[in-house]
Symmetry: C2
DNA sequence: GTCTATACATGGATAGAC
DNA sequence: GTCTATCCATGTATAGAC
């Protein structure tokens, strides 16, 4: 089932890339077709409408969100640190789907995108809260994560806030916080 | 100078409203004209192009950003707490301009919007850092603020994370953190 | 399954009347 | 200073050839 729509995946990748790099507006059927190396007609055979492309992104991310949660749970460094560290986009498949989804959600035309994001964030909140045992801290961690995704996607070249050093600093600060709240 | 373009202000308000409520894509000249209660031609007399509308938002927010910084500095509760508290949109003129600007910046078509946001965030960072005296904490506070603006604008009805109670909780957590780092 | 051609609607912007 | 009418480009989607 995972690989059954092998022809569709590259098109979805292209769609996400255009949305991230040039914005939802620029992600026209034409532009996505060019990026994917197919014709407009070819694209529309696989995805009958633009909404189908959005639904495709949602389906993919719903599947990989579970894998991501498993990865966080299994992380030796701990859920919180790993969660924060991976909230700066590194261009992974998951990152790309997630950022594309936030852009689509903010464009206002796709309520399903907003709903999907809400589901994912709830899952993350529960996971973080189960580790830190404090809803206030969990909320803060989620906000930091949102801030990191937002900043790193909007300012890919920024040297403040999303570079490795700043990130380690933020993680250290949060670790201090968790300790302070426990002690 | 503040009120010299009195006819332009309502149009900019309408533009921001449509961008926030229905997305950049929906903010067509037609839609903005209807929202502002003028004709397309009437709108285009004041703003010769869509880019002019964006520039108008940037000009306005650049002016009010200074007022906002003054307000933060003068706040009895302290810069950090007030900054976080006011990062949940309350529908003020500043909030509306700021959120509209983040949407425009993410749409990718307006580099000026991105640049304006970067300037504002730098100003905020300096202000927060001067109070907490710790760049790591300042960075975290900025990320929380970004997260709050993002969440509250994307999920206006969410009862988690952006309601008054959760907000107080987050502020308390950050206050704990500032103390922990100082002591 | 992928392409070309085309229909149709909409968005940005200009010209010119009032 | 605000309106209507209109032009042109672009975006979505369909039909049908290959």
């Amino acid at each position: 089932m995972t690989q059954k729509q092998s022809a569709k995946e590259p098109v979805l990748d292209a769609f996400e890339r255009v949305v991230i790099e040039r914005g939802e507006r620029a992600a026209t059927l034409e532009a996505v077709a060019v990026e994917a190396g197919v014709s407009k007609g070819g694209l529309l055979y696989h995805f009958g409408s633009k909404k189908d492309l959005v639904d495709g992104v949602i389906e993919r991310i719903s599947a990989s969100a579970t894998d991501y949660s498993d990865l966080l749970r299994a992380s030796p460094e701990g859920v919180v640190s790993t969660f924060i560290r991976t909230s700066v986009t590194a261009g992974t498949d998951f990152d790309n789907s997630y950022i594309a989804l936030t852009r689509l959600a903010q464009s206002g035309i796709y309520p399903e995108a907003r709903a999907a994001l809400a589901r994912i964030e709830t899952e993350w909140f529960d996971l973080v809260e189960s580790e830190v045992g404090d809803p206030g801290v969990a909320r803060l961690v989620l906000l930091v994560s949102d801030g990191l995704y937002y900043s790193s996607a909007l300012f890919p070249d920024a040297t403040t806030r999303t570079d490795a050093g700043s990130l380690d600093e933020v993680i250290a600060v949060v670790a201090d916080l968790v300790r302070a709240r426990r002690g």
